[in-house]
Amino acid sequence: MPGADKETDLGERIEAFLAELKRGGRGSGETARSTAALLRRITAQARWSSAGDLMEIIRKEGRRMTAAQPSETTVGNMVRRVLKIIREEYARSRGSSEEADQQESLHKLLTSGGSSEENFRQHFAPLKANVIEAINELLTELEGTTDNIAMQALEHIHSNEVIMTIGRSRTVEAFLKDAARKRKFHVIVAECAPFCQGHEMATSLSEDGIETTVIPDAAIFAVMSRVNKVIIGTQTVLANGGLRAVNGTHTLALAAKHHSTPLIVCAPMFKLSPQVPGQNSLTCVNAHCPVFDYVPPELITLFISNIGGNAPSYIYRLMSELYHPEDHEL
């Protein structure tokens, strides 16, 4: 029977995805895209009649996915994006204005009359098609993020500048390579022990004709006085504007602050997570060799994302546009 086949096929795909997640090793961009694609498949193939059912299914799968690999936050972020998409499409189908109703606010406290509990139980026929189309738009956005960020490179990198970076970030790599097409500058890469991903970054950059130097992590402070800008990538952007980035980034940020060197973070929007530091932050980390560092927002000058440049104090606003507060906890 076609129905049962679709369900087992869907179940298999989800299991395969979970196994891939547990194995790890994929870049976060790829993970985000495959998560969104899987959620689109769930929307298309799972059995649901109202928006509430679909949100329940997605939330359940989302919890399983985040439990499989807690340090990969992009999975949770994509689930929350899709949940927001469903809410918006539902509100649009109902004809109500979605803008003001979404967030909890003082204004809403004062003006709402009667029960404002949305239970998403109404059935709308075109809802499935609308949600799938919106997820397609999300996928297109995801595909273009690295290019959108790289396009902004020329505004920030000038000739004869010395740029410092740490470890290997595909976003920063694309950013620097795009600037190198028109400008001549020098890059210093901190090797980022113990995995020394900085070596691969340096090799890749020099293949494109960029003058690169590799330094050990201990030399970061010593060299910082000669650096004009620090450009780094990150694993996650937290809700308060801070970062969860590769081990050694906090040191780099402190050294930059000491020398008043601007610290620029290149991060696509799918890395924005509603977590706040202090809330079970480093529970999934090996105590002997911590994989991630927390960098507080005071040390960061600018975030460059696919939608442009933003100050760390503005991150909370971007977050409220991407995710609904009720979805912060899956």
Binding site: S105, L106, L109, G113, A239, G278, N280
Partner: protein
């Protein structure tokens, strides 16, 4: 309606339920005032309400009452925009007012739910004076089987810190009272600082019992997180640039304002903590950075 009756009603509210926030008591009194009001026009209603709020502030000059009053006035304006006819409007107002009151009486619970996950096992917490919201947060954390110790400042001139310590002891939380002057001394021992707020200003800073600013500066110097817990009805449209900028009517108790000859000789009972010293604000609208506060206020008053 007699304003003296309103005054008495407010006082009874505060004494009957010592746990209620003063802004909530103020709004409850104003709602009662609205129910008994006899004006024929919306403008008349607003005028009466403004006078009533002024009278309430003479009873209790805290920022919280002022913010509660302003919020209620804004509530009236927003509702009257939708229904220009007063008699229809009045019923809608009363119904919405009751709903509003119900919602804000749940705010403290929401704040506690958000904040207690930030308290880890074995944490040492420093707090200032007596705050019902902080008490609720610590209560939730204790109910969650977390083990932590609390240091409370004595908080002169009214020794409110000792009351707080008593309440915490009743919850079986280990607590130590320290001198106000000992904040710098104790700061190296603590892991985090949690304080309440009487008012949250537009810049994201807070107005709270005197001594809070000192604590914030110390915690910044020692790199300890400084958390503020406050319900959203405490957001007030004030933008002080420094301590002197805070209006006199908030700095001193209502009785002092009436009887004092030279205010410069009186001790203020509140101070202003700028947003640069605050790490995060926990409100019933969510966990906010100080920059998010003005956004909320703009959304309300625009």
């Amino acid at each position: 309606l007699n304003e003296a009756v309103l005054f008495v009603y407010f006082r009874t509210q505060m004494s009957q339920d010592p746990d209620v926030a003063s802004a909530v008591a103020a709004i409850r009194s104003l709602l009662e005032f609205l129910k008994r009001d006899q004006s024929e026009t919306i403008l008349g209603l607003r005028e009466n309400l403004t006078k009533a709020i002024g009278r309430l502030q003479e009873a209790d000059s805290s920022v919280a009452v002022s913010s509660g009053g302003e919020l209620f006035l804004r509530f009236i304006s927003l509702t009257s925009l939708e229904n220009p006819d007063l008699s229809q409007c009045r019923n809608v107002m009363i119904e919405r007012g009751e709903l509003f009151l119900k919602k804000i009486s749940l705010s403290r619970g929401k704040v506690a739910k958000l904040c207690h996950t930030f308290i880890k096992d074995g944490a040492k917490i420093l707090t200032h004076s007596s705050s019902r919201v902080v008490l609720k947060v610590l209560e939730s954390a204790a109910a969650d089987k977390k083990r932590f110790t609390v240091y409370v400042t004595e908080s002169q001139p009214d020794s409110a810190g000792k009351l707080m310590a008593d309440k915490l002891r009743r919850l079986n939380i280990p607590v130590t009272v320290v001198l106000d002057a000992a904040v710098g001394y104790i700061m190296e021992k603590v892991d985090l600082v949690i304080v309440g707020a009487e008012g949250v200003v537009e810049s994201g800073g807070i107005i709270n019992k005197i001594g809070t600013y000192q604590m914030a500066v110390c915690s910044k110097a020692h790199n300890k997180p400084f958390y503020v817990v406050a319900e959203s009805f405490k957001f007030v449209r004030l933008y002080p640039l420094n301590q002197q900028d805070v209006p006199h009517r908030f700095k001193y108790k209502a009785d002092t304002l009436k009887t004092a000859e030279d205010l410069n000789q009186e001790h203020p009972i509140i101070d202003y903590t700028p947003p640069s010293l605050i790490t995060l604000l926990f409100t019933d609208l969510g966990v906010l950075t100080p920059s998010a506060v003005s956004d909320e206020l703009i959304k309300l008053y625009l």
